[in-house]
């Protein structure tokens, strides 16, 4: 819960958090090192100097560290976990469902634990998804289209092998499909972070929700186009709010475009923890206002109600979370 200077209470769901293990003993190869090093570069570049971590803690902070950063210091009432395995880089995986579950064990009522699947794993992967679902009963899964998997360096949601996974999600009752579409980190000539493949699958599965994590950044323009057409496509903001300290003007421009094209009802706050931590982002975001010109471009000011939606109410709807009355939108407005 975040409380404004005027005493208004805001319900906070951080819709994009991880517990990862990038310690040297878990790195399979040089890729494992450079992957976490790149994350750390972003952490250093985006985080205010007095809030930066040392590299050792960044490699591994554990469920207890995460619980403190999110729930004690970071204003979060709840957090949504998005596993990413990267087994080609990390011996036991990077941010596995099992590791994420250690945070849920500490705070079962605060943690929304999602699963993951890789449609390239075919029939075996479908069985695994079912097995994981039996164990964890998650409402959502994460798809990481740029993940390496053996000789494959990424895939597209348009690939034929994806559809059976969506059918499986549908039959299990998994409704929220998180798709990582963020800054380009690998692809070859075909582009595993291309956002437009979401268009096809969102049309074919109108009863599922597609949360495009990182809003397709740097393809926010393509994301806006897709989200504008498909009512079941949402923007997972993670990384965009992280600009708020280092590049506030660009943060304002991105938010204003997203608000104009996608609107305040389909954007979800995420800190991208632990690349950046919610505490300082939320403090800055809750105090952030557009200048008049930006508000005009956005079609709205960053009002308390807009912030309430982005900070928690939108995610609560997707995950059937009951939010107490005092956090609801200002009825008078």
């Amino acid at each position: 819960m975040y409380v404004t200077e005027k005493g208004e209470k805001v319900f906070v769901i951080d819709a994009h958090v991880h517990v990862w293990d990038a310690r040297p003993e878990n790195r399979r190869n040089r890729y494992g090192q450079t992957f976490i090093d790149t994350f750390y570069g972003a952490h250093v570049g985006l985080t205010p100097p007095n809030q930066r971590w040392d590299k050792e803690r960044f490699d591994y902070y554990g469920a207890k560290g995460a619980a403190k950063d999110l729930f004690e210091d970071g204003y979060c009432d709840m957090a949504v976990m998005l596993p990413v395995y990267l087994r080609d880089f990390y011996v036991n995986g990077f941010n596995t469902t099992k590791l994420c579950a250690t945070l849920k064990d500490l705070h079962p009522e605060k943690v929304v634990l999602n699963g993951r699947c890789d449609p390239r794993d075919g029939a075996m992967g479908l069985d695994q998804l079912e097995e994981d679902f039996e164990t964890y009963k998650f409402q959502g899964v994460k798809l990481y289209t740029a993940e390496w998997n053996g000789v494959s360096r990424g895939y597209s949601l348009k690939d034929g092998f994806v559809e059976p996974y969506m059918e499986k999600c549908r039959s299990l009752g998994i409704r929220n499909i998180h798709v990582h579409k963020g800054p380009t980190t690998h692809p070859l000539d075909y582009d595993a972070f291309d956002v437009r493949d979401v268009d096809v699958i969102a049309t074919n599965f109108p009863d599922l929700n597609f949360i495009v994590d990182h809003c397709g950044m740097p393809r926010i323009d393509d994301f806006c186009f897709v989200a504008g057409q498909e009512p079941n496509v949402y923007g997972g903001l993670a990384l965009i709010p992280s600009y708020i300290h280092a590049r506030p003007k660009f943060f304002a421009r991105m938010m204003s475009d997203l608000l104009f094209w996608v609107g305040p009802d389909r954007l979800l706050f995420g800190s991208d923890y632990a690349i950046t931590s919610p505490k300082w982002i939320i403090e800055k975001f809750m105090n952030f206002e557009f200048d008049d010109e930006t508000a005009q471009e956005a079609g709205t000011q960053l009002t308390l109600d807009v912030k309430r939606k982005i900070m928690g109410l939108n995610a609560a709807k997707l995950y059937d979370i009951e939010v107490p009355e005092m956090f609801q939108l200002d009825r008078a407005a």
């Binding site: 380009t184 690998h186 582009d191 421009r253």
Partner: protein
């Protein structure tokens, strides 16, 4: 020899990161230029170990062409350091191979579609800058959207300065994406050459803004990561450069 290094740097100064339409000089990607008689070697380092191979390949190919165009150059070698596909790309660019030949298992076709996409986006971004500049000077939307190329030329000649720069930059991309360059063509159109409704400037600018925001924000992420990398955070770039015997002079 020093003059030759300056010549090489000048030759590649106009090569741009295709996605964000900024020069590699402005982004600080070049870490060394080595010249041994007619053999030129350029070392570069990107913001991360993971920067997309296809984008890098486009830049590498352009650098190669620009350097080989110098009359005294006999050979070109690219030395990309600390990148997941450095070996393949260095070999491919140095030998002038097609991307699909370098990555036969992964690449689907050549890079022309990607180049086209980026060129169109750059075209729109440059058009947006031109329109903003002229709107601030008081030109109306209706005027801007109906004016012919030769009339823009006369305006740019008359005013010079920033307008000349913006107009030239715009025309360069217009030619690159294959739109008509004749004097009587309407100058400001969509990337497919379709005229913009005379009263539609506000909507059109919204579209342009979307493309520009996205690219600029990504450019900022490149700078953030580049700065971290230089400060010694992120991928141990300096160490690798030393291990591989690459001079990092010219680094600030």
């Amino acid at each position: 020899m020093h003059d030759r290094e300056a010549e090489v740097r000048a030759a590649i100064s106009s090569v741009r990161d295709p996605e964000i339409d900024e020069t590699i000089a402005a982004l600080d990607f070049i870490i060394d230029v080595r010249i041994d008689d007619g053999a030129v070697e350029i070392a570069l380092r990107l913001p991360t170990f993971w920067c997309p191979a296809n984008f890098v390949y486009l830049m590498g190919g352009e650098m190669r062409a620009a350097v080989l165009a110098l009359h005294w150059v006999r050979s070109f070698r690219m030395q990309l350091v600390d990148h997941f596909a450095a070996d393949e790309m260095n070999r491919g660019i140095t030998e002038g191979l097609e991307f699909a030949d370098v990555f036969p298992a992964q690449a689907r076709g050549d890079l022309s579609d990607l180049r086209r996409t980026f060129a169109e986006k750059a075209f729109l971004m440059r058009q947006g800058e031109l329109i903003s500049f002229m709107t601030r000077q008081g030109f109306s939307g209706a005027f801007l959207l109906q004016t012919r190329i030769d009339e823009f030329e006369r305006l740019a000649d008359g005013q010079g300065g920033r307008l000349r720069e913006l107009w030239d930059a715009y025309l360069e991309k217009r030619a690159e994406i294959g739109l008509p360059m004749t004097a009587d063509a309407v100058a400001l159109t969509g990337a497919e050459g379709i005229a913009i409704p005379v009263d539609g400037l506000t909507d059109h600018m919204r579209e342009l803004r979307k493309v520009t925001t996205s690219a600029r924000a990504n450019g900022e992420m490149c700078r953030i990561l580049m700065a971290s990398r230089k400060a010694g955070f992120g991928c141990g770039a300096m160490q690798v450069a030393r291990d591989e015997g690459i001079s990092t002079k010219g680094n600030r």
